[in-house]
Structure formats: C-alpha cells, structure tokens
Amino acid sequence: MEAASALELPALELRGIDKSFGAVHANRAVDLSVAKGSIHGIVGENGAGKSTLMGIVYGYYAADAGTIRVDGKEVHIAASQDAIAAGIGMVHQHFMLVENFTVLENVLLGAEGGALLKKGEAAARAALGKIMADYGLEVDLDAKIETLDVGTQQRVEILKALYRGAQILILDEPTAVLTPQEADALFRLLDTWRSQGRTVILITHKLREILAATDRVTVMRQGAVVATRDTAATSQEELAELMVGRRVQLRVAKDACVPGAEVLRATGLRYVDARGVERLRGVSLSVRAGEIVGIAGVSGNGQSELLEALAGLLPLAGGEIFYKSEKLAPPGTAAASRAARLHGIAHVPEDRHRMGMVVGYSAAESTILGYHGDEDLGFGPLLSNRAATTRTARLMGAYDVRPAAPALRSGNFSGGNQQKIVLGREIDRDPELLLIGQPTRGVDIGAIEFIHRRLVALRDAGKAILLVSCELDEILGLADRILVMFDGRIVGELGRDAADERALGLMMAGVAQAAAAE
C-alpha cells in the first residue's frame, strides 16, 4: 500500500506543541505531520513524551502552547469531546473502560443518543452489529467488561472509537497486552482501515512493529521529535540510534558462564489470581550458581507472578520451591518474604514505585526497606535514623547514586538512580540468589549500562540470577540460559548461543514449543 499523495492535506498536523508537568518538560515544541490514509508510527523510549503528545491530541491534557490541524483546518481541542468531534479516536494503553458495565454501556457512554437510554441502545446495537461484521471484531455486547480477557477489552476500545466515527485512530502501545498472533490480527485490521482512507497513529517502543506495520515513523527523544523517516528507508539500527541519541550497545561484554551448584529449584508452581484467572500453570525451573537465567515472554504471560511467587509474595495454589535443596515455606505471607530475605534471596521487584521503595520516604528510609530489622540499625525496638543515613551514604557512593543525598525524597530521584538505590540495597547483602524484574524499565541509558555491568559482575562472583524482562535485547544480552513463558507455562528453553530473536519470538507466541522444549 502506498502512502497518500503529497498533494493531499495531512490528516493531522501539529505545530509547536509544548507541555510541562511541574518541573518535567514532557513535550518540547513538537511538530508532526501525519498523511491521510497512512499508518504513522511514533517511537521513543519510556518517558520520551509519546503518550503525552497523543494525550494532547485527544484532549486528555491541555497543551501549554501549539496548534493542532485536522485535514488542514485548525481545531481547538480543550477536552476529549472536541477531539471526538474532530474525528479522532484513541485506544489508550490502560483501557478506559467501566469494569462493571456491559460492552454496550461502555460504547454508549458519551454517545448515548438522547436523554433516555432505551432508544440509543437499540440504534447502537444495530450500528455495532454492522461494525463487528465488517471488521470481524466479534464481542458479546451484553458481557460485563470484567469478565472479558484483555485482548477482547481492547476490541471494545476499538469499537468505541469506530462507533464514534473516528477517522484518525491513535493506538497507544496496543500490542503490550497481545500475543504475537493477536498483534498480527490487529495489524491486519490497521491495513483495512488504511485502505478505507482512515489514518492510524501507532505509538510503540517496539521497533519490529514499526517496520512491519507503518508507512512513516517519527522518533521522539526527551520530549522532542528527533527525526521522521519513511519506514521503507530506515532500519532498526538507525531507529534505535535515533531513539537513544547515540550508538546503542546493549550487549555487555562477558565471559563464558561457569555454572555451579543448583541454588533454586521450583516444581509445578501454580497461582490463581484474585479474579480466578490461573496465572501460573505448573512452572518448573532451576537456577544454578554463576549463571543468569532469563525469562522472556510477552508481558502478562505470568513472568511477573513467577518472580513474586519465588520471592515469597504470592500465595501459591500448588508446587514447591527449593532453595539450596531446602524446601521453602509456602509463600504469600509477610513471614515468607522475610524468610526468603534471611536465606539470602534478594529481590529487585518490577514495580519500583509501589513495591521496591516508598516514594514518600527519604532515600535513607527506602534503603532500609526490608532490612529495617537489622541489628546494626538500632537498639532493640528502636530504629536509628543516623545508622540508616550512614548506610545509605555508603551505598550511594558504591552505586554511583546522584545526588548522593540520603535525606532526599525517594520519589525525587530519576528512575535510573532509584533503581540503583534498590539494586544497591538488595545486592549489598551479598545474596546467593537475585530475583530481578524489568531491571531497566524507565531507566536512562547510562544507568542501564551500569546496572547490566553490575549484574554480570554478580554472576561472575558465583551468584545465581533470575532475570525477568520484556525487552528481548536485554535477555539476549545478559542471560546465559533463556526460558520462554507463554500463558502461564514455560514453553521452551534455549542456551544463549542457540537463541536468536526469531526463535524466541516464535516461542513467545506459543508456537513451536514442542520442538524446542523436547
């Protein structure tokens, strides 16, 4: 499919969009032009300002400065209703659905078609029936959202936008919750829309998707647009370099792995979450001293739950965990989490802000989280703030935390420095086993390299590391052995040398598991 001719006015044109949240300059004088009937990608690292920019286009945030034109006509978008009126629809990364409403009620909300619901409902049913048939987006209109899986919920979001007659569709990280097959189906849908003359803006941080699905791509970095390219004329390498602003070297230099004794073994772990969904369906694995085991998978396939279960935080429905051949108490209680730490199991959680630290605490207070019972931190029941500050100052020096201010509020450090505080706290104890989730999410490039080097050093010191990451590059760069998770199960295992993105990708999709696992 060819991009639209240059003579036609762009479907969407942004000029000088600027937006600050307090001290954070989220968008800096952004210019963007999206051709009608095209699929336009926007890529950038976490925090590059992609979502904020599209939030502004959709009227969710108000820009501090700048103009928006739709089909060449300037529009004033003060609230989402203005965007909807201008024919813009958006599928947000976090779905904007009322959980205890039916699909139909969610679609109707804001487009009720009259003061009484009855008439609008009948009309909506008819219109939605047609949309669903046209695009193969089958959803039970009377099902409650909370009973639907995430993929279906995304379909509801798409229906909402189509029902409102959106001509420009913005999708924010739509594949984060999808399996590769579902993602492919979505991209086929985008193709259909393009052929009908609709315009699609696809926000993602996955370069593969950009190359596979878009006509043009705009790269954002630190709130500004750094480049726009025809997709056909660019490459993953170029885009990655544009995204981070220099040559990227995600491969860390490291020696061959010399695995030692088995440190962690889990057998048949099962976990059912509060909604009754089985998140872990019998996971077994083992991690040996001196190796980094990476867990790869599309987000939401049970990796997060696995990590938390191993750290003693989730009540398991079945299975056993052995640490140095000693059986651990069933997890899911504060006592189990305490016991794991005492055994020498360190855990750097995925959710840094709500679990790894307390953002309202001073750095010194966050640095003793989980270790507040240490004898050297006070006398008897008393806790010495001075002792905590001393320890924190030492760690800040050792882990290059900036600013090295123990009294500063944890939330005021950058993502990278927060992660260094958490990582420092956890490996300061010289643990035998480190469980680490998404170590570089929301972390700047400089800190990523620092963190990766530390992890490799820890491995070389003969420690066992279990790494969960949604970034394939990170897994490929660090792991000595790679396990792939899909739908709550481990569907394959590859040695570092045997692994490449293609093989991993297939396994992450749940395909070819038999071949790889046997």
Partner: protein, 324 residues
C-alpha cells in the same frame, strides 16, 4: 382482630413517617457516592436544611417557602463540599466532617442569635407546616374492615413530603438506570478516566450529583422541622444522616434495596418506642439501646461480608486527577 390490624397499621404508618428523612438522605447519598464522592456530610446538610426551613417558614408563614430555603441552603453546603473535593481535590471524608461540624455550630449560633429561644426556632403555626393530607373517599372507605383501615391510616393521612418521597424513589431509580445522566453518573463513580476520555467532564458530572444530593438533603431537613416537628431543635437530625448512609450501604447503592433498608431501620425505630418495658415471650425485656444499635450492627456485619457483600463504587473517595 380489628384491634390487631389497627395496631399493625399504626406501627407501619409510624415506620413510614420515620423512614422519610432516611430515604431522602440515602437517595442524596446515592447520587453523591455513585458519582465518586463519599458523602458523610448528609447529616450536616440535612441539619442546615432543617434550620433554614423552620426559620423561613416562620418568617414567611409558608411551609413551601421553608422547603425552598432548605433546599437552597443544603445545596449551598453541597457546593462547598464539591468545591473542596472536586475543584481542590481535598479529602472527601474530611470535607463531609467539616460540614457536619459547621452545621451543628452555625444552626445553634444563628438560632440563638435570631430567635433568642435557647437555640431552637419559634413554634410554627399549622399554616406554616406540612400537615397531613386526606386522600379522597377516606370517610367512605374507612368503614371497610382491614382494607379500609389500611387505606385511611397507612396510605392516607400523611403530609405532602411523604407522598413526594414515595414518588421520588422510583424516579431516582429511573434516572439512575434508564437515562443518559444515570449512565454517566454510574460510570464516573467507577472509572472517571473512562468518562473523561468519552468526552464528558468529570467535575461537571460530580457537581451535578452534589446538587442533587443537596436538594434531597434539604427536603429531608424541611421534613424534620416543618412536617414531623413544628420547629427546629438543636442537633435534631440526631445521627439520621449516618443511619441513612448505613442504609445506602445496606442497599448496596441501589435505590429500591436502599428504600427497603430505610424502611427496615425505621421499623426498628418505630418498634423500639412500642417495646419499651414490654416483656417479649421467651426473650424478656429487650433494651431500647439494642434496637437502636441494630441498624449499625447489621451494616457492620454486611460490610464485613458476613451477610452478603457490599461493593462501593470503585472510584469513590478518590479525588480525580488525570495523572495516575
């Protein structure tokens, strides 16, 4: 036989009379909480309304003028609540608390200063009150055994506000479940982000809910001081606002179940007067306080999941902010 019927009917009739302020307040709370604003300020709004109604009804010698004043004052209180919680994203419980305390203080101070009767308002003449109305054909039908008694003493003989309340319950149910406003109201209390991205103003919607809450609390207040009593008395709401809140929880934030919860609590109240000092067979004398405590006890048991489960609107209590 006829005596038993008479007694039962009179018990039920006083249940209805006691239930009216609870129902109105609970419906007020329903609007506020369904929109995502926890409303422990029902008590204060009702008290302020009661004082306004009694004062204006006395000055203008008109119950209807009193009612209008009560609604206005109560709405003003609700708007202060909204200003604090919606506009300035203040703590909803604290704001409700502030209004309750302020209402207790202001009504007592103003009543004392304006009327010099030690904190109450002057007794209202019948003309300035809501008086019982007789439904048509009462005289003819009342002679019919049982049904006649029920018609004459249970259905007929209440004041206008009782009939208004009876009409309001189905109306509120209709508005909440069958109209555009209701759909948006239910949505904004569950997920305001969904409402915002659907192109609807969260703040505007919540203010509308607070307006409804204020108006209904005002009617409840007017009922207390110009229908049930003939003047405003200090702290005359006596915890009814909280009891209504309990009923709302008990009714799981739905109009019809809430109505029945109010009737149940009012029935306990009506019964308590009659049971005083009476020994029940097999149980003995039930302390008045035990019956008074019953609604609260039931609500606690419900909240604890021992009898069913109550789920508050998911976003209630949380000030809306676009950044999560």
């Amino acid at each position: 036989m006829e005596d038993l019927v008479l007694q039962t009917v009179s018990l039920l009739a006083s249940t209805v009379r006691l239930a009216v302020p609870l129902i109105l307040c609970a419906l007020a709370g329903l609007f506020a909480e369904r929109s995502g604003v926890v409303d422990i300020g029902l008590e204060g709004k009702m008290l302020a309304g009661a004082f306004a109604a009694a004062s204006v009804a006395f000055w203008l010698q008109s119950a209807w003028a009193g009612l209008a004043a009560a609604m206005l004052v109560s709405i003003a209180f609700a708007l202060v609540h909204g200003f604090a919680c919606i506009t300035h994203r203040g703590n909803q419980v604290v704001a409700g608390m502030a209004l309750n305390v302020l209402a207790v203080g202001l009504t007592a101070v103003l009543a004392f200063a304006w009327f010099q009767e030690g904190g109450k308002t002057p007794a209202l003449a019948d003309a300035a009150r809501f008086r019982p109305l007789q439904l048509p054909f009462v005289a003819e039908i009342s002679t019919v055994p049982v049904l006649g008694t029920i018609y004459a003493r249970l259905l007929s003989g209440h004041n206008a506000l009782v009939y208004l309340t009876a009409a309001l319950v189905p109306l509120v149910a209709f508005v909440v479940f069958r109209t555009r406003f209701g759909l948006r109201l239910r949505a904004v209390g569950e997920n305001p982000h969904a409402v915002d991205t659907a192109g609807i103003s969260v703040a505007r919607l919540r203010y509308q809910a607070m307006l409804a809450s204020g108006a209904l609390c005002g009617i409840a207040g007017a009922y207390l001081s110009t229908a049930q009593s003939a003047s405003f008395l200090r702290e005359m709401t006596a915890g009814k606002g909280f009891l209504a809140l309990a009923a709302l929880i008990f009714g799981k934030w739905m109009p019809i179940p809430t109505l029945f919860a109010c009737l149940l609590f009012a029935f306990a109240d009506a019964l308590q007067g009659r049971l005083q000092g009476v020994a029940l067979p097999g149980i003995g004398v039930v302390p008045v306080q035990a019956i008074q405590a019953l609604p609260y006890l039931l609500t606690i048991l419900l909240l604890a999941g021992f009898v069913g489960k109550a789920h508050a609107p998911r976003a209630s209590g949380i000030p809306y902010s676009k950044e999560k």
